[in-house]
Symmetry: C2
DNA sequence: CCTCCACTGACACGACTGTTTCAGTAATGC
DNA sequence: GCATTACTGAAACAGTCGTGTCAGTGGAGG
């Protein structure tokens, strides 16, 4: 389990990568920005890969907290979109997309399985929001796959164009 | 306009990045893999950024050729999905997603505007396939935005899980 | 007091980065 | 034949990368 200093630095590093991206982060600029040193980061996280892994887990924690918060039941898609389209969440979602793409290109290393895991997480939430009688039918699976696709595709559009009006009204 | 040797090397480099990714490509391994040298790549493309820009343009040419080939009219969405879900196109689409994410994280440099441009391209194709009487209405705009979101989201799912069966039947 | 432990600073190592310099070669146009 | 052009090879440049080494801190527990 992490020490106090470790979580403190992880939090600072997390804020850093939210604005600078995770793909080409390097230890020295990161350490300088959060008032630490490469020596300490390496001491606490073992290696750069360990740090990236911790940051990815940190981002995923944010995502899982959201999903737990959204809850289940009718109207999930609308509630999810409301959260996804909030301007305040854009850095997190850009980071999310970056990790997603990276895990596809480089299936090894700390990114491994990120994309697959996140698809599974969201599908599970959508499943929990379906009526029990369709939940385990092929039609139910198709329905939530379609809902997820719609949300993710709309998110891609929004992140690229920033045109929240057009995308949101398309989802209505 | 590019010389013969330039397009030849660009083609080889393009094949290389399709399997190795574009984000963290570096000149020496790339040059070695395609039987060239950093000296020549730099001579022909000016800089690494020039090379990346050329590669991005090359990938975009593939995409635009597809869109021209798909044509317009009813059934576009199905035809587009057929193309997107073809296993042979997976490397290209992974590269596409990588460039998309990168252009969001790093709005400057050779990646600039890639995501926005590709959204525009596809929306235009979908627009051309709409009946003339809805093409310029808010409802038409919303409809093609939704179609695009569905396709892109389904693509994300497919690239992560490889579960073509589930995703394709969700789109039917 | 003294030991242990979490943490930190300064520095160097080898590997790799994009790029430059200087040197050629081979073919083309006059 | 000669100059120009397109391309290529070898080596070096300064910089950054992740990581390791060696030396300390400061505070908490016995």
């Amino acid at each position: 389990m992490p020490s106090a200093r470790e979580t403190e630095l992880l939090e600072a590093a997390y804020r850093y990568v939210l604005t600078h991206g995770l793909a080409d982060v390097s230890l020295r600029p990161l350490a300088a920005a959060i008032g630490s040193s490469t020596r300490v980061l390496l001491y606490l996280f073992g290696s750069k890969e360990g740090l990236v892994r911790a940051l990815l887990a940190r981002a995923r924690a944010d995502e899982l907290a959201l999903l737990a918060d959204i809850g289940a039941g009718p109207g999930v898609v609308a509630r999810l979109w409301e959260w996804l389209s909030a301007p305040a969440h854009r850095p997190l979602l850009t980071l999310w997309l970056e990790a997603y793409a990276r895990s596809l290109v480089e299936p090894d290393g700390p990114w491994a399985g990120f994309a697959r895991a996140t698809v599974h997480d969201w599908l599970e939430v959508l499943r929990a929001s379906q009526p029990v009688d369709v939940r385990d039918t092929p039609a139910g699976l198709a329905a939530r796959t379609r809902e997820l696709a719609l949300l993710r595709g709309a998110l891609l559009d929004l992140l690229a164009t920033g045109d929240g009006e057009r995308v949101s009204s398309a989802l209505a």
